[in-house]
C-alpha cells in the first residue's frame, strides 16, 4: 500500500525549481547577447553562441581559459594521485597499525580541519617563496596534498572492515604489507573513489591559495584565469561572457560529478558511522 506521493513530488518540484534557478538562469543568459542582460525580460529574446566563442578564444597577456584548463587538469591529476598515494597508506596505519602516540597524531592532524584556511597562507607563501616555487604548478598543487579529509574518511572505512579478514590472512601467512596491498586496498575502492571525487572537486575549485601563489599564465588554474579576465572589464559590457565563462569552467566538474555520483554515497556511508 503506497502512501499518496503527490505532496512529496509537489514539494520537491517547487524546491528544485528554486534550487536550480541560479544555475539555469546563468546558463540561459550565457547563451544570449549581452544586450539581453540590461533588459528587464524574464527570458532572452534572442540566443547566440558568441559568448562561448569569446570565452574560448579570448586571450589577454597570455591568460586564456583553454590554457588554464590545461593547468587545472595537471594540478588535478597530480593532486588526486598524490593524495591517494599519501592518504590510503596513512589512513590504514591510523586504523589498524598501532604505535605509541598514534591517537595524538591522528587528532592533531584532524584538528587542522578546524582551523580557518586563511591562517597559514602568509607563512605558506613565505615557505614556497624560499623554496622558489611561487608561480609554478608544483607551488600550486603541493600545499593541497596533506588535506586531512582523506585520512579521516579512509580511516573510518578501514576501521569498519571486519577484523576476521585480517586474521584469516595472517593464518595464511601473509605479511602486514601483503594484507594491506592485497586485501585492504582493493576493499577500499569505494572509499578511494569517493576521495578521488571529493579531491577533484576541491582541486578544480580551489581559489584562495592559487590566487596568491600564481602570477603568470604558466601557473594559473581556471578560477584564477577567470578572475583575471574579468577584472578591468566593465560588467555592463560583457556580463554574458562572464556567465559563459562560469559555465565553461564548471562543466568538467559537473561531468565528473554526474559520472561519479553513485560512488560518493557508497564511499561516504561507512565514514559516517553506518555499518
Amino acid at each position: 500500500m503506497r502512501r499518496n506521493q503527490t505532496g512529496r513530488y509537489i514539494t520537491l518540484t517547487v524546491a528544485a525549481s528554486i534550487w536550480a534557478l541560479p544555475l539555469i538562469a546563468m546558463v540561459v543568459f550565457s547563451l544570449a547577447p549581452n544586450s539581453e542582460i540590461l533588459k528587464m525580460s524574464l527570458w532572452p529574446s534572442e540566443f547566440t553562441f558568441t559568448n562561448y566563442i569569446e570565452v574560448v578564444t579570448t586571450e589577454i597577456r597570455g591568460v586564456s581559459i583553454p590554457d588554464s584548463l590545461i593547468n587545472s587538469a595537471i594540478i588535478l591529476a597530480v593532486q588526486v594521485t598524490g593524495i591517494l598515494l599519501l592518504d590510503v597508506p596513512a589512513a590504514y596505519v591510523f586504523a589498524r597499525l598501532r604505535f605509541p602516540g598514534r591517537e595524538i597524531l591522528f587528532w592533531s592532524i584532524l584538528v587542522t580541519m578546524m582551523m580557518p584556511g586563511l591562517i597559514d597562507l602568509v607563512s605558506l607563501y613565505d615557505l614556497m617563496a624560499r623554496i622558489g616555487l611561487i608561480d609554478t604548478l608544483p607551488g600550486i598543487f603541493l600545499p593541497g596534498l596533506p588535506r586531512p579529509i582523506g585520512i579521516f574518511l579512509l580511516r573510518q572505512f578501514f576501521r569498519q572492515l571486519p577484523v576476521e579478514l585480517e586474521d584469516a590472512a595472517k593464518l595464511d601467512g601473509a605479511t602486514d604489507f601483503q594484507i594491506f596491498t592485497r586485501i585492504m586496498v582493493p576493499l577500499a575502492v569505494p572509499a578511494i573513489t569517493t576521495l578521488a571525487i571529493i579531491t577533484s572537486l576541491y582541486s578544480w575549485n580551489n581559489f584562495l591559495w592559487p590566487l596568491i601563489a600564481s602570477n603568470t599564465p604558466s601557473s594559473m588554474p581556471v578560477p584564477i584565469a577567470m578572475a583575471y579576465l574579468q577584472s578591468g572589464t566593465s560588467p555592463a559590457q560583457n556580463y554574458s561572457v562572464m556567465l559563459a565563462a562560469a559555465v565553461v569552467t564548471s562543466l568538467p566538474m559537473i561531468i565528473v560529478f554526474l559520472i561519479g555520483q553513485r560512488w560518493i554515497v557508497r564511499g561516504i556511508a561507512p565514514a559516517s558511522g553506518i555499518k
Binding site: L38, E59, I60, R61, G62, V122, Y125, D126, A129, R130, I134, L211, I212, N215, T216, P217, S218, A227, Y228, S231, G232, T233, S234, P235, A236, Q237
Partner: protein, 424 residues
C-alpha cells in the same frame, strides 16, 4: 616563463610619439648605461593595461635599448594587487618597481616596505618637484623623504548627458557649477521621466568616501586636526552639511535610492543626467557611439571649490638592488615625459609640462579637468588613512541607506576616526 603580450597600437598613432620623444630627450639629460632588468608590477587592466604594456614595450625598444635597461612588466589585477605586493614584500620576492596609490604610500613606508629616492637619484633622473602638480608631489613625501614619484591624478568630477540637458531645456554647454545649479538641473531632468534621474552618485563602495571628501573639503580645508589625533575643528559642521545635502538628492527623488553598481549603463541609455565619477571612466563613454556627453569639474557646494583626488605613483619596494633602482628611475623619468600617452586613457598627468603641451590640451575632457587642478586635494598622508576611508565609507553608506541619521553618522564617524588614530 615569459609570455608574449598582445600589444594594442597606441591610439594616437605615430605623430604623438614624435612630440613626446622630443620632450623626453629634453628631460632625460644624461645617457648612462645601466645594464639591468627592472621587474615592474602594475595593477592596470583593461585598456589601461594595454596602454601600459605598449608604453613599456616602447621604452624597451627605444630608450631602454640605449640605456641597456629591460623593463619586465607583470600585470596583477588591481583587486589582488596590494595583497600580492605585500605578500611578495614579506617573502623577499617583491618586484623592483611597483605602482602605489597616493593613500597607500604612508602605510608602506611605516612598515619599512619602500626605499626612499635620494636627492642624487632624482637629480640624475632629472626628476624635480617643480615639474609636477604640487599636491601630487607632496603626497609622495613622508617625513621629509621622497618615496613616490607621481604619475597621474584622478580627481572626482561630473559627467553630464548633453542630450538630457537639451530635453530638459538646459544649456548643454553650461554644466552645473554650484549646488544650486546642480539642483536645478537635477530637478529639470528628473521630471523627464520615472526612471530618469537628475543626479547619480555611488551609494556604496569606496566612491562614497571620495565624494564625501570632495564636498567636505569645500566647507573646511582639513579632515584631521594638526596633531592628527582627532578630527579637525570644523569637522562636525562640514560633515553635517555635506551629508545633508547629498542625502537630500536621494530624499527628493533626484538621485536613485538604490545603489546602481554599474551606472555607466543607465548613463549611456540616457537615464542619468549628471554622474559624479572620475576621469578614469572616460574611455567607456568616449568609445560609445551616439552618446552625447560632457565633462566638468566638481560643482561647488560649499565656500571654496575643491575635489577629492587620488593619484598613481611609482614606488620602489625595499630590497631592490641599486642597479635595478637606478634603471627604474630612468624608466620613471621616461614615463613621466611620455605622460600624454598615459593621459589619453583617462588621467590627469602629474607632470606639468605634459599638461601644458598642445597635444594634451587638444584632449577635451582630460584638459577640462586638468585645468582645475588647483582644486584637487589629496587625503592626509598617514599610514592609517585607508582605515579612516573605510570608516567614512561605512557611515556614509549607512546614511544613504537610511540606517543612520546624519547627526548620528557624523558623531559616530568622529569617534570612529579618533579610535583609528588612537590605534596607531
Amino acid at each position: 616563463m615569459r609570455y608574449s603580450p598582445r600589444i594594442m597600437p597606441s591610439p594616437r598613432g605615430r605623430h604623438g610619439l614624435a612630440l613626446t620623444a622630443m620632450i623626453a630627450t629634453l628631460a632625460s639629460g644624461t645617457t648612462l648605461s645601466y645594464a639591468a632588468d627592472v621587474e615592474f608590477w602594475s595593477p592596470f587592466t583593461g585598456p589601461d593595461g594595454a596602454t601600459i604594456e605598449a608604453m613599456v614595450q616602447e621604452y624597451n625598444d627605444t630608450r631602454g635599448a640605449e640605456a641597456d635597461v629591460n623593463v619586465d612588466l607583470l600585470i596583477v589585477p588591481w583587486d589582488q594587487y596590494y595583497t600580492k605586493l605585500t605578500v611578495s614584500m614579506a617573502s623577499g620576492t617583491a618586484p623592483d618597481l611597483s605602482i602605489a596609490h597616493s593613500h597607500r604610500v604612508a602605510g608602506f613606508v611605516g612598515q619599512g616596505a619602500l626605499t626612499a629616492f635620494s636627492e642624487d637619484d632624482l637629480k640624475t633622473a632629472g626628476i624635480e618637484g617643480d615639474d609636477y602638480i604640487e599636491a601630487l608631489w607632496n603626497a609622495g613625501s613622508v617625513e621629509g623623504e621622497r618615496y613616490a614619484v607621481p604619475i597621474d591624478a584622478f580627481p572626482r568630477h561630473i559627467y553630464y548627458n548633453k542630450k538630457l540637458f537639451e530635453e530638459a531645456g538646459l544649456d548643454p554647454e553650461a554644466p552645473p557649477r554650484t549646488l544650486q545649479e546642480l539642483r536645478a538641473a537635477a530637478e529639470a531632468i528628473s521630471a523627464l521621466g520615472d526612471d530618469v534621474y537628475g543626479v547619480y552618485f555611488a551609494l556604496q563602495g569606496s566612491s562614497t568616501a571620495r565624494d564625501f571628501y570632495s564636498i567636505y573639503w569645500q566647507y573646511t580645508p582639513e579632515l584631521l586636526s594638526e596633531d592628527q589625533r582627532g578630527v579637525a575643528d570644523g569637522f562636525e559642521e562640514a560633515a553635517t552639511k555635506t551629508l545633508t545635502q547629498l542625502k537630500s538628492f536621494i530624499d527628493e527623488g533626484l538621485a536613485p535610492a538604490q545603489n546602481i553598481e554599474d551606472y555607466e549603463g543607465p548613463f549611456i541609455q540616457d537615464r542619468i543626467g549628471v554622474a559624479i565619477s572620475q576621469i578614469t571612466e572616460l574611455p567607456l563613454f568616449r568609445d560609445t557611439e551616439g552618446l552625447d556627453y560632457g565633462v566638468s569639474p566638481m560643482p561647488t557646494f560649499g565656500d571654496t571649490p575643491a575635489t577629492f583626488a587620488l593619484g598613481h605613483n611609482f614606488a620602489i619596494p625595499t630590497g631592490t638592488s641599486d642597479e635595478a633602482r637606478e634603471a627604474a628611475l630612468d624608466f620613471i623619468s621616461w614615463f613621466s615625459a611620455h605622460g600624454y600617452e598615459w593621459a589619453v586613457g583617462g588621467k590627469v598627468p602629474a607632470k606639468l609640462a605634459v599638461i601644458e603641451s598642445d597635444e594634451f590640451k587638444a584632449l577635451g575632457p582630460q584638459n577640462i579637468i586638468a585645468e582645475r587642478r588647483d582644486i584637487m586635494k589629496l587625503p592626509p598622508i598617514i599610514a592609517v588613512q585607508p582605515e579612516i576611508d573605510r570608516v567614512v565609507q561605512e557611515h556614509v553608506e549607512a546614511v544613504y541607506a537610511g540606517q543612520l541619521t546624519v547627526d548620528d553618522a557624523v558623531s559616530r564617524m568622529k569617534m570612529a576616526i579618533e579610535d583609528v588614530l588612537a590605534s596607531q
